[in-house]
Symmetry: C2
């Protein structure tokens, strides 16, 4: 008690009243993850205003052995930014660090604070005819630092890669309070192994990202959004290869969803309409996009793509969105799957990946296997076929008790799904990270050699275990 | 002595006669780097035939505390694969591991042994209408494992990135002899920080790469090679931006060279002809390329690009290679700069990078600065403007003694150049790695925080310092 008092007093000297909150009313909103699965306690909410303040605070925490839980937009899916229940830790919010530090439109680079919100970044660069090629549902709250720390994905990974591919430079505060400054973007730099890469996706366990240099692309001038109905998921795989061969880099997105998901969305979403007449076992949503250089050729490219897919017998029916409004409607059908399925009752959701080439086979085999093993359940695989990233949901049998089922049968089902995906050489966390949610499963299923290296690196860079303890490892 | 005898005997039991050479005649060719700067000694040359044999050998080395110098094609530029003079180490050659393990043309992925030679990879995938988008001068000897361990670059980094961007999966043997197996390519995988990334570019100091999964692209169907004469290097920067805006992803290469370099090549290379009439202070070589989808549009794109560059006043003169033979001739002018300059006498060569946006300014300022500081020298910057990667050569004054000058004045000049590039936020090793050659300079100029982290990670993963000692750190 005395100790924490001394620490808090020193922290207040450092950060001022605006930078340190201990009032429970101010702290409490940041102690629960946004899915509401985890609630913790904390000594204080620290909100430093600069990398230097973060560094000084981390140094102070190291002296007092106070654990630190870094937090960006608090929109993570795995409880990675929520403290544990001990109340020993501080939550270190990056939200006050939300400035663009420099923006060179010519060079297509922007340097920004870690607390900058993704949507603000989008708007800032759009004003100069550029775009940042990563987006996701939580863009209104997700911060650049959080996106880097979790190596976020989204709907454009197929063409542009995940957050790792967007990071040209990085600034972070390490466990001893030193500032790791690699903000200067060098396209070629072989001075030893790349420490930036280590911090990306480390969920705040190796360092606290305070700033980043990000790559930008020319704004899109034109897009074509296509919808196809298919008889078999394996045809979706063939359609993907066909689209890649025909459209090359113009292919920005390739999503699939089964009949069940589309029905659920149509029932659940006011005003939603099916793009095609008749029902199909599978639906594929494709987006082709081009900047000014390729805009003119895009409509023909889309038309030819669909016609040749028909001729090759890959699709049962297909259409191209007639205008931007309809394009948005097609994407809404995709985006509403999760809420629509949720409205059907309790479900276990799995954010998994397998090799791209195997995803169709995986879904085709795993769905009936799960339903056979757990009678009454309904299994659904949908999502980013082009990335091998399956959202694999298992709906509870009728009559299951919400809140209860997830902790009992649901848990067993998740282990079964994770066992399956591991058997296929896949990942139990494609996009959302490990956090608290999957820590035990990673320990259970992770490759022992890889886990040992993770642990060695963690111990080397954070010997007192103060950076986001209880997450990932 | 007894110790090394016991070790060698156990190693021979493990690897057989084919896998272990101690005969000086057999070992000697691998004790000198190909530039001839470093010669070392070794207990033996070990050539395991599988990852399992590498693992068993590394375990044996760990028990006997025998250092290991991994070696691929022995074509590195920084002495990173050459043992020191103590004779305590073994050279571990990956050359016997040179098989393609699996090749899925549909999925555009290939899994191969680390000892596979780059050119063999090119030929293997070309037979299926694909290409591996990384190439460099040493492709006839460079191995996949060496390219990964040094994060090699080459002439296609502008569009396709360095070796890091080509690696989808990795297998390596760690210092304790365990096999790190991350060969399965997952486009999305967020199970903790990405250890693959740590091994890429680590120069054999953290692990020995034994296999990799690589990405492939559709074969090129068409290319257009352009040559432009410019009055000022800053116009080259503007031309690059112009070409990126016009040609987008079709721009595969953008190289620049000063008048002096072109003259040297024309004098030195039999049959070489200048692409343009008249002399220009600067020359830019651009390559536009397209697969089958974009082939038809490419000639017009190239033509429009040059015409608009003329209109914008960016180029003094320009031409497009009329056919593939002439395209090759243009590239030969670029590739012959290094030998042509070498024929002029002793020179210090620097493989450096600065932020892409600053390279033109850097060359414009650093060249006169060096020549002023070291009277009689001639400084030349040329290379990959699109990557911010400058080959910065400083030619000795007339009358300098070859072999002597490099060790005296040359050394001072190199320090001066490295100081300059560091002041510009650049890297003293853009492509070639640190090895032995730049170890002291990295220690002198590297950021102390980054050096400390490199050291911490190294100590954690290789506590006895047996993996490629004396390199990098």
């Amino acid at each position: 008690m005395t100790d924490s008092h001394a620490f808090l007093s020193a922290a207040r000297d450092l950060l001022g009243d605006r930078g340190l909150a201990t009032d429970p009313e101010l702290v409490e909103p940041w102690l629960t993850d946004w899915r509401g699965r985890y609630t913790g306690r904390a000594l204080a909410l620290a909100s430093p205003a600069s990398a230097e303040e973060v560094a000084a605070l981390v140094k102070l925490c190291a002296e007092h052995r106070v654990p630190i839980v870094p937090q960006g937009g608090n929109s993570g899916m795995s409880g990675g930014a929520t403290p544990d229940e001990s109340g020993n830790a501080i939550v270190l919010s990056l939200r006050r660090m939300n400035e663009v530090r420099s923006f060179e439109a010519d060079a297509r680079e922007i340097i920004c604070d870690a607390g900058l919100i993704l949507q603000t970044l989008h708007e800032t660069v759009a004003a100069e005819g550029l775009r940042f090629p990563l987006t996701l549902g939580g863009k209104g709250s997700a911060t650049i630092g959080g996106l880097i720390s979790t190596n976020a994905g989204g709907t454009q990974v197929l063409r542009h890669g995940s957050m790792r591919a967007q990071v040209l430079g990085l600034e972070a505060v390490l466990a001893d309070g030193s500032i790791f400054d690699a903000l200067t973007p060098l396209k070629k730099d072989n001075r030893g192994f790349d420490l930036k890469q280590l911090l990306i996706g480390s969920e705040g366990t190796l360092g606290i990202v305070t700033g980043a240099t990000l790559r930008l692309l020319p704004a899109l001038a034109e897009r074509a959004v296509l919808w196809a109905g298919l008889g078999d998921i394996r045809d979706a795989r063939k359609l993907l290869l066909h689209a890649q061969a025909r459209a090359g880099d113009a292919l920005e997105g390739f999503e699939i969803m089964p009949r069940h998901s589309l029905s659920a969305v149509l029932n659940h979403t006011p005003g939603a309409r099916a793009p095609l007449q008749g029902e199909h076992e599978w639906n594929a949503l494709m987006e082709l996009a081009a900047d000014a250089g390729g805009a003119e050729a895009l409509p023909d490219l889309a038309q030819n793509l669909l016609e040749s897919a028909f001729e090759a017998g890959l699709v049962e029916d297909a259409t191209i969105a007639a205008n931007e409004r309809q394009a948005e409607e097609f994407w809404t059908l995709r985006d509403e799957i999760a809420p629509a399925e949720r409205a059907l009752g309790p479900a276990m959701q799995h954010d998994i990946s397998v090799p791209v080439a195997k995803m169709a086979d995986f879904v085709a085999e795993a769905v009936p296997k799960v339903e056979r093993e757990f009678p009454g359940t309904k299994a659904i695989g949908f999502g980013h076929l082009g990335d091998g990233n399956v959202h694999f949901h298992v709906l509870a049998p009728k009559g299951a008790t919400p809140g209860e089922w997830e902790k009992t049968d649901g848990k067993i089902i998740s282990k079964f799904v994770h066992d399956e995906v591991t058997r296929w050489g896949g990942s139990i966390s494609a996009e959302h990270g490990i956090g608290q949610l999957k820590r035990d499963e990673l320990a259970r299923l992770g490759d022992p050699v890889q886990l040992a290296v993770l642990r060695q690196v963690k111990d080397a860079l954070d010997p007192h275990g103060l950076l986001n303890p209880g997450k990932l490892l």
